[in-house]
Symmetry: C2
Subunit: 698 residues, 2 copies
């Protein structure tokens, strides 16, 4: 258990701001604690001697030692209260009080001070603006919500208190239980990363679920979640996915929404299973909290009705799972056990007159098949099928074979009763075949998360000092935009660039051209001219004899276009065989939450019109860099589709990794594009470069 | 009402094969009918004088006149029974008996005879292999299922009887009612198209829903559904969507799966709203059966909790709807009515202490806004919010403003009670904001279906006779594959082709080349050589002087490649400026269910690697042809992206329509590809052609 264990298992809980006034939050919390909590409950309120039959203390310094303080005092005394708690040695506090950053202005300043005092005394603070916390092992409900959680193995955090109230009301009806529940509030001190770490260490938590509107430090969260998901699945609803939603989230609790693409990638890299709705969140959590992961993706479907069997098969086709291909012995055994009209191939249709025994036999035989990793039992109600008995049988077979099984017992009231039996046996029942399959799919996805190995980023031998110098020149030139004049930066990090250099007189241009085999490409170099081609600032196929005039002409054009443009010179560059090559883009954009987001795609229309790109949060190792190249839709073009010579994919993969190292080494690089990175059959060449730096960071 | 009205409103129903044997289907049906049915129920069974207290007749000829016969006799007497029914003037029969095409062999032959006898006597036959039919206005349950349907305005057909049983059990618990219910069985006589037509004419049916595994005549279904959806929404689960599902569906009731792409397109063109699961089917149906369609796509969200508000906003971002932009007066009025902490912009957050009155005011103001077409009320349970009262208020405001409203009252038992109130008021409540929004979205999609106008296919002036002749040559040559030698076919239908012709001697080749401006392209023409380029069978940029030798060389290469190849000659063709053009593909593939499926895409990688194509079932008018061009992802390339000259999109659109006319005129054309159709700034040219014909059809 981590340093937060006392937060969830205190011996003494104080309610600072306790009152017996009807309808007051300070009363609701005290009542909730009094209901079940086995430890000591200490009301604190200078205006009372006694609250709800308990001795009340005037302040925390006069109270007995407090393990956890629930603070419901007015906003302007919260900071002082926390200071007193710190002084008296209390380590854990939940601040219920609202009126902090979510109200802006003065509240934001108050929140800043809250952060300071928490740091000064090393306080674990939940909130402010929190509904409170619960822990069922401690029988502790330290919230002002109307519901107690049932016992269970799901730990649940939420950035919305109302969401917790709504979920508990429903979960209690459904018999879904929880371990710990935390209303995160404004997350000023403790945030999602802290609770993921805490629950990752908690052997009683089988699944971590959460509703989040933003993640404060994406980079840190990814690190923590990667570790935790080795043992404990994490399922999150991250709202603000859409532009409209992000805007709504920002106006609510002041969360910064961040880019959805970064969240999508970051959470995926973290091993988090993402749910898009409340329903999905619990559909996944129910499967993950009671069932083992399947050894293989083959699913057996056992049903008493063709139609629902087909629907289930469709759902499996939509998922990462597949219909199990039965071994011959399985088919034989099923044919033996089933009537002639039954379908003994997958989906197994035990037909309409199937009783519990026939269902049980079919499931038994299917689960014994080595090609079957999991099973779905789907049934329509019939006169001969006792749902409660079917539930018992499914539980028994599931346990006997040790493989995950989910059910979709269709129908009304009688399905409801069997659902309870199944739940007690650790089997989630779903309304709909599609949802049952999605539950199994979550198990398989979590298995993949557990089994994956993430390779460490390769440490390439680079010239970091030289890179620092080149970036430093930007600060000297008082600009935050760099271009081809900084191609040396790529060279310093071992990313190949064509032969050539930037020159500032025509004679030198001719000398450089003389040293290059064949004709050259010449480009004007100016931070003020970004679309060089549009003003005739690029000349292709210039012979040595023409280089001098071309130089003069390029400079004249630039001057003509913008008389006061800073002209850094003219780039004289080796001309590549573009016919046999493919243009790619390798880039980076620094996300406020997740840090450097790497991007890969084929150039031109593929990125601009088809938006066919892959992204990852840096740093990444070789496997992830290769996955970036493989997962774009147009990847076959690099592999030699349509009679082309294959591009040197290894060289692209290495370039992506070297860029990953560069942008990780230099947080000052805010944006960077190598566009195009030309990939030929034998290597790559970076032709053009643009980057934006934060000169303050240099 | 259509010709099937008597099927659902008979005065006398006979159960042919009635029995009082416990557990027999013939008894279950009789009991279900006896339960409620107000008309006369007539048992028929040669072995009984009386069944369950009713006088039993030995055969249908001795019975009183029968409006509807439910047939449960053994399979080998079904045909004779139907014949007797026909002879005695009965027009409607439901065949419950199984053992027809679903069992193959003898059963299929029996089904063929059933079809014959039904045609002979013009019988409306449901089934065989059906669970039966129900009609709540007639209080008739003519099924052997355990459940009666509740009254309602949804008419429901299903290709799976078990699906009906499962759905009714659940729907009864949920209080969801039905008008007519049909178990389609093997659909030998009456199929989905018949019931869509019937219910389209039924003023009491507000929504038609169905579970289908296949559609027998897609073309006819599209025609019928297009008409019906002008007044009545149709929501279908068509299973067998995925490859795995299609295979499972084919093995069940012998349905032919057909291509998913054709179904997707055909159902979309038909105006059908497609559901992917049982849950979606009813989520959509519940909205469509009680609410009007929204006038505009702007949605107002009214909530008492930020988190659920953000989730709702996300769901709206995912849908075809959008967050309504409130008018200034709305914001002012909300600011007036709400506390300071409330959010008066969309989503409206009436905050946690909102009571029913505040919710009502917010909803009232929002619905009065002209930018608001519909609203979602989302609430977390709180101590101050009475859900039942909230339900009443929402119903009242909805009715006052005449705009659709759905709710998501989150929570357990208390939400359940309010849900009933809402249902009685015509408002569907959903578990999850995402599902609530999906319900509203179905309304908006149905509005779009109603409002769309489908333009008639243009009748181009074409030379049909010449086309028939050209196609006829295929039969003469005893091949079903045609290529460039049939380019005249395009000419006959007004699709432009480059100047040139197919010649069979080198001198003629030179003459043709002389008549063409500039160099020419020459290609070997042989039905036996499909990949001409691979064997050097294409020469580009041949000057007049070289034409003679080029001819000899092409023929020699072809002979060398395949000595016995049929060589039809050499095509000498004008050379087009491909630099300024874009290669497109216009094609057709005849689907067994839906008929000619037109395809459009950009050539090369766009079709082969990116699979960026659009499809429609022919015939189509100009609007749909234009939509085909517009909807591909790479369409911007035709519109002049990246500095290219725009292609002549009108000419492409016209070509698609002319192809539509051609393949509609000639059902013998099974497959056809114009690849490439080169689109330049001023028109298109078909460069190559391949088609497959059914020579029997010619």
């Amino acid at each position: 258990m981590g340093r937060l264990s006392e937060l969830f298992a205190p011996e003494t809980v104080a309610v600072v701001g306790a009152t017996d006034r009807e309808g007051a939050v300070g009363r609701a919390i005290l009542e909730n604690l009094q209901d079940d909590f086995g430890g000591e409950v200490v009301p604190v309120n200078p205006a009372r001697d006694e609250v709800l039959g308990l001795e009340c203390y005037s302040d925390v310094t006069s109270a007995p030692p407090i393990d956890l303080a629930v603070v419901v005092v007015p906003p302007d005394v919260v900071i002082e209260t926390l200071r007193e708690l710190g002084e008296t040695g209390t380590e854990n506090a939940v601040v219920i009080t609202a009126g902090f950053s979510e109200t802006g202005g003065e509240g934001a300043e108050r929140e800043r001070r809250l952060r300071e005092v928490a740091a000064e005394y090393d306080l674990n603070v939940v909130g402010p603006n929190s509904l409170g916390i619960m822990s069922t092992p401690a029988d502790m409900n330290a919230t002002f919500g109307p519901e107690n959680a049932l016992d269970g193995s799901i730990s649940f955090m939420s950035q919305s208190g109302a969401f917790i109230t709504a979920v508990l009301d429903w979960a209690n009806e459904q018999g879904i239980g929880f371990q710990d529940v935390v209303s995160l509030g404004n997350k000023t001190v403790l945030d999602e990363t802290d609770f993921v770490r805490e629950w990752g260490d908690d052997p009683e938590t089988d699944v971590i679920i959460g509703y989040l509107e933003g993640i404060d430090d994406g980079h840190e969260f990814v690190r923590a979640a990667r570790e935790v998901t080795d043992d404990t699945p994490i399922v999150l609803v991250k709202s603000g996915r859409t532009d409209a939603g992000a805007q709504a989230a920002s106006s609510h609790t002041g969360a910064i929404a961040g880019s959805e693409r970064a969240y999508e990638t970051g959470l995926e890299q973290a091993g988090v299973i993402r749910a898009r709705s409340v329903q999905e969140l619990f559909d996944y959590a129910r499967a993950l909290s009671g069932l083992p992961q399947p050894d293989s993706n083959g699913v057996a479907v056992v049903t008493n009705a063709g139609g629902p069997g087909v629907l289930t098969t469709d759902a499996i086709g939509d998922s990462s799972l597949s219909m199990a291909d039965f071994a011959d012995e399985t088919v034989d055994a099923l044919a033996e056990a089933m009537p002639d009209e039954a379908n003994v191939y997958n989906p197994i249709d035990a037909i309409g007159d199937a009783d519990v025994e026939r269902f049980g036999e079919a499931l038994d035989v299917a689960l014994a098949d080595p090609n079957v990793g999991s099973a779905v039992v789907v049934s329509a109600p019939t006169a001969v099928l006792e749902y409660d008995d079917l539930a018992e049988t499914v539980i028994e077979k599931r346990e006997a074979h040790g493989k995950p099984v989910v059910t979709c017992l269709m129908g009304g009231q009688r399905a409801r009763a069997a659902e309870e039996v199944l739940r007690d046996g650790g089997i989630p029942n779903y309304f709909d075949p599609a949802r049952a399959v999605a539950g199994l799919d979550a198990l398989a996805r979590y298995r993949d998360v557990r089994e994956r190995t993430i390779d460490d980023p390769t440490e390439f031998d680079v010239d970091r000092e030289r890179a620092r110098e080149i970036l430093g020149r930007a600060a000297e030139r008082d600009t935050n935009r760099l271009g081809v004049e900084s191609m040396d930066l790529l060279d310093a990090y071992g990313i190949p660039t064509p032969a050539g250099e930037i020159v500032d007189d025509p004679d030198r241009a001719r000398e450089v051209a003389a040293g290059i085999d064949g004709d050259v490409v010449m480009k004007i170099v100016s931070p003020d001219i970004s679309h060089k081609s549009d003003i005739g600032g690029v000349k292709v196929g210039v012979s040595e004899a023409d280089v001098y005039d071309a130089y003069e002409d390029l400079v004249a054009r630039a001057r003509n276009y913008q008389p006061d443009a800073t002209i850094l010179g003219v780039q004289v560059q080796e001309m590549l065989d573009l016919e046999a090559s493919t243009e790619t883009i390798v880039g980076m954009n620094r996300d406020p939450q997740f840090g450097p987001l790497l991007l890969f795609g084929l150039g031109g229309i593929f990125v601009e019109i088809l938006e066919d790109t892959s992204v990852r949060v840096a740093p990444i190792g070789e496997d992830e860099a290769r996955a970036m190249v493989d997962e774009i839709q147009s990847a076959p073009l690099l592999r030699g589709a349509r009679g082309r010579e294959p591009a040197d994919v290894d060289a692209i993969v290495e370039t992506v990794q070297r860029l990953s190292q560069l942008v990780t080494d230099f947080p000052a690089i805010l944006e960077m594009d190598i566009n195009p990175l030309v990939a030929g059959p034998d290597g790559v060449q970076a032709i053009d470069l643009r980057l934006t730096v934060d000169t303050e960071e240099l």
